[in-house]
């Protein structure tokens, strides 16, 4: 974590760095605060999704035009941040996803995870007619018009914001661009999708259900919108 922040600071880009700490008990938050970083520390462990939303809320409070999410576990390459920044500021898109599959890399991915990714690529294409190569990537950049949609308690209800979240954004007629980024194997920390036992299946079932709910909600909004017109 410290090395990530240090690298980001060394790059000297014109942006604020904020660390969302999800109730860590190993002194991570204190170390980060002592190093002079801006830290938002959950008083208790709230999970990945809540940490993302805290990031959105912080950005809304500061009225940032863009926000880039970067995992602190050493999986994302800080040098790719400049590409993300250029893409979100210069391209006419609302969301940028850093994809590990748009470039040749030596990323080791297990068979089950690879299959899950291919499966969800198809689901996204079926529901939105858009091709997303890396639906599980956490390396994302958002414009204010998109992230501000998800700061309300009932608008960001995902346990795991992956393909379901992407479909939600696309169905709201926002645009997504994928750019190639470098990703490493995790230095520390665990994957959201544990690769053992029954957990990948629960993850898949949960995400599928979540996608279904996104689509039902979208249909309802369209209906109400149609009645108003």
């Amino acid at each position: 974590m410290e090395s990530v922040v240090l690298t980001l600071k060394k790059l000297n880009y014109p942006f604020d760095i904020v660390i969302v700490d999800d109730g860590s008990t190993d002194g991570t938050a204190k170390k980060a605060i002592d190093s002079g970083s801006s830290v938002v520390s959950h008083p208790t462990n709230l999970g990945y999704s809540a940490a993302i939303q805290t990031g959105f809320k912080y950005a809304e409070k500061k009225n940032y035009p863009y926000v880039i999410f970067f995992d602190g576990d050493g999986q994302h390459d800080p040098n790719s941040i400049i590409d993300m920044m250029e893409a979100i500021t210069l391209e006419h898109v609302d969301v940028v996803i850093g994809s590990r599959f748009l470039q040749d890399g030596d990323m080791k991915i297990g068979v089950s995870k690879r299959m899950a990714i291919i499966f969800f690529q198809h689901i996204i294409y079926l529901t939105t007619k858009k091709r997303i190569t890396d639906p599980t990537s956490g390396f994302k950049a958002y414009k204010a018009n998109v992230y501000k949609l998800f700061t309300k308690p009932n608008e960001f209800f995902y346990d795991l914001p992956d393909s379901n979240f992407i479909i939600d954004i696309l169905l709201r007629k926002h645009t997504i661009l994928e750019i190639p980024v470098n990703m490493f194997d995790r230095q520390n920390g665990k994957s959201k999708i544990h690769n053992t036992g029954i957990k990948p299946f629960i993850y898949m079932a949960q995400t599928l259900l979540s996608i279904l709910i996104v689509i039902i909600k979208k249909k309802r909004i369209l209906k109400i919108g149609g009645k108003l017109e």
Binding site: V18, I33, S38, V39, V40, S41, H42, P43, T44, L46, A50, Q53, T54, K57, Y58, K61, P153, N154
Partner: protein
């Protein structure tokens, strides 16, 4: 329904009611929740003390053994209550998340204000 079973059911329902009321007096259970519990118990007591009602209902529904209707109704009540509890837990989880995020963001702001001074 034989009278021993009838007495047993009424006894259990009364005992359970006293538990609920004691919890209510000690503020360990919300009024809204206890109303549902006590209402359910009242239905059980009424039905157990009028077994003929039960026999008739069971006959209409085609249940050979009337007491199993009692268990079936209890199951439905418990299932509904369980679902209601899950809804409550989800609501509380969202509230806790929002409060925690609010605290986290406020603390962050506080730290920055004190750094600026």
């Amino acid at each position: 329904m034989n009278s021993v079973l009838q007495l047993f059911l009424i006894g259990c329902a009364l005992l359970f009611s006293t538990f609920v009321i004691r919890l209510l007096v000690k503020n360990k259970i919300g009024e809204r929740n206890s109303v549902i519990w006590l209402g359910g118990l009242l239905i059980i007591i009424l039905l157990s003390s009028n077994p003929s009602l039960f026999d008739e209902a069971a006959r209409i529904l085609g249940i050979d053994y009337p007491p199993s209707l009692l268990f079936f109704i209890s199951c439905l009540v418990l299932l509904t209550f369980n679902l209601y509890q899950t809804v409550q837990i989800t609501k509380l989880t969202i509230k806790i998340k929002d409060i925690s995020q609010y605290i986290a963001l406020s603390q962050n702001e506080e730290r920055h204000d004190s750094n600026d001074d």
